[in-house]
């Protein structure tokens, strides 16, 4: 199947004919079975090049740019730092290292409000020039051969602070630390990018195809898997053609076009679509022999493994309906750049109702614009006033749209009601802990009920209840 795409594409991967597009659509029928919705794709920045954003004069680097406990600052006021130097050390299991994104002097270590408005520990650096740490290879050459062993690659993931750049920012090295009885068969690379507006992965694939592939190869060594499959939605024909063309040079990497359906890029749904396996309730993907990683994560893994370069940059799509299409851009930003500067570079439209960090389905509205860019901030979206307001919440009609939309086979209307009534034991019984918080239920609700919001409250409370119960045992 994969052979047919480059044949049609010819030598030039970027030349996409109508036939190829329809062919990819035909090939990419694979998807998950249950639920899912079809939001408008609105990929305005699909063909925009990645633009390097000017270096900030001051960078505010949060110590919590990942899922888990905050890193511990290892620099103090007045210290000189170089780009890529360790400034926050991971001292607990669920944690990732943080590195200096600019060179200069540490101004102070302080509590700075993040996008939610809550204060988080952060290191503030005043920029002087742009001097990189000596251990980092800053040449643009592509290094093909991987010299590191499995253990060394996992150690490099940890030391370079690699986190999943799909949005959740899960520390990557934890996924690869397998128990002896666990065995990874498939490495699944998530390039689905099913959230509307975001085009970061698409552009990273097109501009850094070979690097992504080498990153996947490194991840294959780290996981011990025999085969890697790149799952990509069929609305990105250029990227699919480029990947298939490049995959020829690599022996065990396969490209699998997928149907356009949200949430195609969710871990469990992607595994179902590609391998046909279902991850059991409450289990991790490794229980069915899979590790799932985002493609941009693979690119930063390449940089970490081959160039010893930690994550100091974020790739951020700036898009939205209310800004002109040519202004929709993808920025390569240093971490700690002020969000306000980024937004001003595009120009905040008059009728902006809210600005979202992440996609419109799962992203978070920014409550505090005086915050700073962190790892995994894949997009900043402008929503106009009309789009950003919810409709008036009306009573539930029992129409069942949320039940058909739920990709986990849950009953969101019921979970909403139970969570509202604080009946958390019943919530557990109805499988609230399986909710992936994708937002399909709220999206499909004709009564504009805040289903996923309430379910998230219930999920947090039920989780706390289960943990307390297990601790008591």
């Amino acid at each position: 199947m994969n052979d047919r795409i480059p044949q049609l594409a010819g030598e030039l991967a970027t030349e996409i004919t109508k036939e190829l597009k329809s062919d990819i659509k035909k090939l990419g029928r694979k998807t998950f079975r249950l639920g899912g919705v079809h939001p408008e794709a609105n990929k305005f920045a699909h063909s925009a090049d990645v633009v390097t954003f000017p270096l900030p004069d001051q960078a505010v680097v949060y110590m919590t740019q990942h899922l888990g406990a905050p890193a511990t600052p290892v620099v103090k006021k007045g210290d000189k730092v170089k780009v890529g130097q360790l400034i926050g050390e991971a001292q607990t299991f669920m944690c990732a290292n943080i590195h200096a994104p600019i060179s200069g002097t540490v101004n102070r270590v302080d509590m700075i409000a993040d996008i939610s408005g809550y204060k988080k520990p952060a290191v503030i650096i005043d920029r002087e020039g742009d001097e990189w740490d000596e251990s980092i290879d800053t040449t643009p050459d592509i290094i093909r051969d991987i010299k590191l062993s499995k253990e060394e690659i996992i150690a490099r993931m940890k030391s370079c602070g690699i986190v999943g750049l799909g949005g959740a920012c899960f520390p990557t090295h934890i996924k690869y630390m397998l128990k002896p009885e666990q065995k990874c068969e498939y490495l699944i690379v998530n390039a689905a990018e099913c959230e509307p507006y975001i085009s970061t992965d698409n552009r990273v694939i097109l501009e850094r195809t070979e690097q992504c592939m080498i990153g996947i190869e490194a991840a294959l060594i780290a996981s011990g898997a025999s085969k890697a499959v790149i799952g990509i939605e069929n609305n990105k024909p250029e990227a699919i053609a480029a990947l298939v063309e490049m995959a020829k040079k690599f022996t065990n990497i396969e490209v699998q076009p997928l149907e356009m359906k949200y949430p195609q890029g969710a871990e469990k749904q992607l595994i179902k679509a590609i391998t046909g396996r279902s991850v059991p309730n409450g289990a991790l993907p490794i229980s069915v022999g899979c590790i799932v990683n985002n493609i941009t994560t693979m690119y930063v893994l390449y940089q970490a493994v081959q160039k010893n370069k930690p994550i100091v940059q974020a790739y951020t799509t700036v898009s939205g309906k209310s800004i002109p299409k040519e202004q929709c851009k993808i920025f390569r930003l240093r971490l700690g750049t002020s969000i306000r500067d980024v937004l001003n570079a595009v120009g905040i439209p008059e009728d902006t109702g809210k600005i979202i960090s992440g996609g419109p389905m799962m992203g978070k509205a920014i409550a505090n614009l005086d915050a700073y860019i962190s790892k995994g901030m894949g997009s900043l979206l402008f929503m106009n006033e009309k789009e950003s307001l919810r409709g008036e919440t009306r009573p539930c009609l029992r129409c069942g749209k949320c039940v058909s939309a739920c990709p986990m086979g849950l009953q969101p209307y019921m979970l909403h009601a139970l969570s509202d009534l604080k009946r958390y034991e019943d919530c557990e019984h109805y499988g609230i802990m399986n909710c992936i918080e994708c937002g399909c239920c709220s999206f499909s609700c004709p009564s504009f009920r805040p289903l996923v919001d309430m379910i998230r409250v219930g999920k947090a409370k039920t989780g706390a209840m289960i943990r307390a119960r297990n601790a008591a045992k």
Partner: protein, 295 residues
């Protein structure tokens, strides 16, 4: 024919009834449970809302515990008639100060203007997990009304003008249900005080003064003036936030006049001594006596 059918049917049912009655009589004799009649009497002295504020499963459970232990201190129900319970059990009830809920936030729309608009599930638990709040104060009231939902006595309501909860002192029994429901600990249960007069700090912000003032003009800035003024050493300042110990406070109101932001509230004092009236003078004092920099 029909009459005999009716006769036999009535006879059968009647016989079954008599046999069942005899069995039930003996069963009730064998499995008889001796129950203290005082439990019912004590239960009648409790409010009957089954709020769980005392720590027991409900009013009946608390009554049972009191009767079996013969100890009134086992649990405290602010709505309970302790004198009567003491009479029933034949022990002397100790006097307890009645308690009431106070709202430790004065972030009204005027004092703490909204910077963002919240448009999601109306529950403080979710709002608290999402963001710092409409006024960007990470310690203040979110105004979604989890406390209102938690109250069994209909004693707390959100004022639509200030977006802050208001406590109906006559209905509030101090059961702490609202304080438990509040994700930010804005609500505190304090002694009602003599003649219902009490003084408290209406702020929960533990940030440094300048930061707190940025979001709310009525915030406690932790300057410590009140603590210095207090003749009874009732006020302590920890984490940039003043706290008045209601056991030590004699309601002299010296601190109220001293507070530069009007964060200390004195309620139910007679109107005559005008300068200490609560909300009306607070913003003006804030402007004139502003103490922008501290620690």
């Amino acid at each position: 024919m029909a009459t005999t059918t009716i006769f036999y049917a009535a006879l059968t049912i009647g016989l079954i009834g008599i046999i069942a009655a005899v069995i039930l009589y003996f069963v009730s004799k064998i499995f008889h449970v001796e129950e203290d009649p005082r439990i019912d009497a004590v239960q009648a002295c409790l409010p009957g809302a089954n709020c769980g504020g005392c720590g027991f499963a409900g009013c009946r459970a608390m009554a049972e515990a009191m009767v079996s232990s013969m100890d009134l201190k086992i649990a405290y129900c602010p709505g309970g008639d302790y004198d009567k319970i003491g009479e029933i059990l034949g022990i002397k009830a100790e006097a307890r100060d009645p308690q009431v809920c106070v709202v430790r936030c004065n972030g009204t729309c005027e004092n703490a203007p909204s910077k963002v608009h919240y448009d999601s599930a109306m529950t403080c638990a979710f709002a608290n997990s999402l963001y710092a709040g409409e006024s960007a104060c990470p310690f203040g009231c979110l105004g979604c009304g989890d406390c209102v939902a938690a109250c069994s006595f209909d004693a707390i309501h959100i004022n639509p003008e200030t977006h802050l909860p208001e406590v109906d002192e006559d209905k509030c029994v101090g059961c702490k249900a609202c304080a438990k429901a509040c994700p930010r600990g804005v609500l505190e249960i304090r002694n009602k005080g003599k003649n219902n007069r009490r003084v408290y700090v209406a702020c929960n912000n533990k940030e440094k003064g300048a930061v707190a003032r940025k979001n709310c003009t009525a915030a406690c800035i932790g300057c410590g003036k009140c603590a210095k003024t207090c003749p009874f050493e009732a006020i302590t300042v920890t984490d940039n936030l003043a706290y008045i110990d209601f056991e030590k406070c004699k309601a002299c109101r010296k601190c109220v006049a001293e507070c530069p932001t009007g964060a200390i509230h004195a309620v139910n004092f007679p109107e005559k001594k005008a300068p200490v009236a609560v909300e009306t003078t607070a913003p003006e004092t804030a402007k004139t006596n502003a103490n922008p920099v501290e620690s």
